[in-house]
Amino acid sequence: MNDIKGEERVSYTLTVNGTDYALSNLEPRWLLSDVLRDILRLTGTHVGCEHGVCGACTVLMDGRPTRSCLMLAVQAEGHAIETVESLAHDGQLSPLQEAFWNEHALQCGFCTPGMLMTAEYLLRRGSAFSRPEIRQHLSGNLCRCTGYQNIVNAIERAMRATAAEGPETCGD
């Protein structure tokens, strides 16, 4: 190919959970989900379908829930990525994780990282969502074990806990 545009190999920096990772000489086709898991070894982000339906791979990008299987890793350069590994601090579960634990909001736990990241986004919005609204916002995160009921319970519980501490000032 003579003067065709584009690169067969790319080098870039990813910012994940506040840490910069320099990646060099990778094929650009590598998905963000695979780079997180296989190269950075942040395997908390799970891959359940690789066509954007199941939601297990959901991460936050610049604060918004995003499918890491529907992005090339190179595209995440310059954006802040947050994964499930960022939620607990010094081994202490976050209030959201505590709520999931208390409410039995997981069984096998495979969908849990994606659920948590979507729920984390909802919590940061600071609004009080009704049960049907929570269910609608979770429509892009499939769970095969719980029937969702305890997940909705957990998010309601976490919202109550957050509201008790005063609303966060985090918008879109």
């Binding site: 094929e27 086709r29 590598w30 695979d34 898991r37 296989d38 070894r41 942040l42 395997t43 908390g44 982000t45 799970h46 891959v47 359940g48 379908c49 690789e50 066509h51 339906v53 199941c54 297990a56 994964t83 499930v84 590994e85 939620l87 607990a88 081994g91 579960l93 994780q97 999931f100 634990w101 208390n102 039995h104 997981l106 069984q107 096998c108 736990g109 495979f110 969908c111 849990t112 990282p113 948590l116 049960r131 049907p132 929570i134 269910r135 609608q136 979770l138 429509s139 995160n141 499939l142 769970c143 095969r144 074990c145 719980t146 029937g147 969702y148 009921q149 305890n150 997940i151 909705v152």
Partner: protein
Amino acid sequence: MRRLEDPPLLRGESRFVADLNAPGQVEAVVVRSVHAHARLQKIETAEAEKVPGVIGVWTSADLPKDLGPVPVRLSPAPTLLAALQYPLARQVVRYVGEPVAVVVAENRYRAEDAAAKVMVSYEPLRPLMSVGESLDAGPLFSALSSNVVYHRQQRKGGPLPDAATSRRRLSLTFRVQRHTAVPLETRGLLAVPEGERLTVYGATKVVHFNHRVLAEMLHMDPAHLRLVEVAVGGGFGVRGEFYPEDYLIPYLARLLGRPVRWVEDRLEHFHATNHSREQQHEVTVTYDDEGRLWSLEDDIWVDNGAYVRTHGVTVPELTQAMLPGPYAWPALDTRLHVVLTNKTPIGTYRGPGRFEGTFVRERLIDAVAASLHLDPLVVRQRNLIPPHAFPYSHGTSALGEEVVFDSGRYEAALTRIAQLMQQDTIDERKRVARARGRLRGLGFAFFVEKSGLGPFEEVRLVLDEEGMLTVYSGLAALGQGTVTTLVTLVQQQVPLPAERIRVIYGDTDLVPIGYGSFASRGTVMGGNAAYVAARVLRQRILDEAAAFLEASADDVVLDAGGAHVAGATHSLVNYQVLARYARANGRPLETREQFRSHAMTYPYGVHGVELDVDPETGAWEWVRYGLVYDVGRAVNRELVCDQLIGGVAQGIGGAAFEELAYDADGQLVTASLVDYALPGAPDVPDVEVILTEEAPSSRNPLGIKGAGEGGVVGAAPAIANALADAVGAPPEAFTHLPLTAAEVRRWIRPLPQDGVQDLSTADEK
């Protein structure tokens, strides 16, 4: 109680098989047939082998000449052996997705590049895509005389009433669509060779059985082979069985002398992992004017797919054996026909045979009631097996044992669901809904489950000198809370804090025997084994403490910190000291106990559904979902409810959303999560559970029954009955799954013109 399993899962620290990385690991991709039925002519691998990063390509010709097919685990019958599947197809492929070659490369990207370049020449043969086509065609296997691979008749009672002698008679055809478990985590394996030894990560469900099978297929000394279960993202029956890849990946790891990983992707999951459920029932029921049932006849046609897999004919046999359910039928005659077709083979999926049979029977009961203009709950109540009749046998058998119901108070469950769902005031709610332009319906479905398949489970307990209690169990853990349950049962006898108890399972090096987790057997078999072992250990500790404290064992009490004489906490001796003391005296504090059983336990319950139908689109909205379940005795009521509620969502999926549909050429047209519709959070209701413990099992010391499958099995008929109630449908309505809005619409009687307008007005409010 919070589950002990959860913290690492919540932090994203648990390791599922695809999370593992062994040094030097390479990745395998399976090349699969694109034809439903074809003769394999030639497989060219040269181009694939040239792809950078490719280590090799293997076809069936490259596998050992004496390699046999994957054997059956359950329900063996001689004819089944003619239709077993080899790890890679030889000469003929029989379903889309059948493995024909394996590529190994440095990573999955490169392996897929190479897989796309494996050139397979096929001579297409006619695909048999339904039971009907298979019955008319020649056999798919030369060793068989027909495609009916298994047949069994079960009868009870005298001659069935014929058309001349029976006053009431109803014949209906029911159809359950092909669908399956679809756990959120696909299957995967990592095989790591080290010298003579081979460790395989990713096993689950029946780890020890698979260990034996793999050792035999690899011609390995079982002592050199270790299977290890890691975190598992749901199984529901399909995961953990021995599939072709369970041979191929360990074989290649040994051949290459380096770790080989294979992670099934979602598209191949739909083709490769067991399907389930596809059945047709041709039913005739006779009954009298009061709705008393006389007889049930059923021809059960099972579309088995292309091969007999590890379950043999478990699903068909369970369908037949459990079909009669909670009713005291005077006469039964059921005929089972298992037919091979060119589809992915079937296996068990949560509630195997009962999802299908419960749908048929419970929809049939409402059809009987509709034909007599009787309340469906009254018809049920008139036919239930009474409490004094237990143990009760329908004269059927499955899984090698006669089905004998151990205990039940069925009428009490029926009363409870009627109260929970406020059946007495439904007419008023119907009127209110009608004024809003909605058709309200209320439906019920009774089910009897089976649980706790034997023959045994073993638990070994070791209290060590650090004061740690280790529980070695032969169970597997696929998300049900197995660890929490076992720890709870042990703690009830030896009250150590949970952080001082660890559970080891799913590792063939550390746990020598086990039967695994399936058929809702975990808590019944493994739980009772833990209970028995913990009682023994408790007594041993009391005896040692008595000796140490120079007291009578009867006066010693145990608490979280150790043992002391009752009323004298200052005398406390901690568990570390006791363990050291016991060992020093040559009596280490450990025990190994088995719980054996040759008769299953039979939990039961009732689903209740109230819903509103949109009379123009046929779509419906949930109003309430109720479930009454009797578990005999619960170890942990919360975990039982978790199982039931999750099961309901899966049942709803099977009732109204999910279908594995094939076209006439044998292509699976719903092979992605876009087209295979798993229910999401907005699609399922909150479930109100009433968990009772009224009919403990007489067959185990804890009196417990299983809880894994009752949530799933009654959903479809309860919804179908509610829909039929809403639209006033005739008996023959809603006999085919899935229940779609289009199907509902078909049974809505045309409303007067101004009625339509009223409904439309109401809709926008």
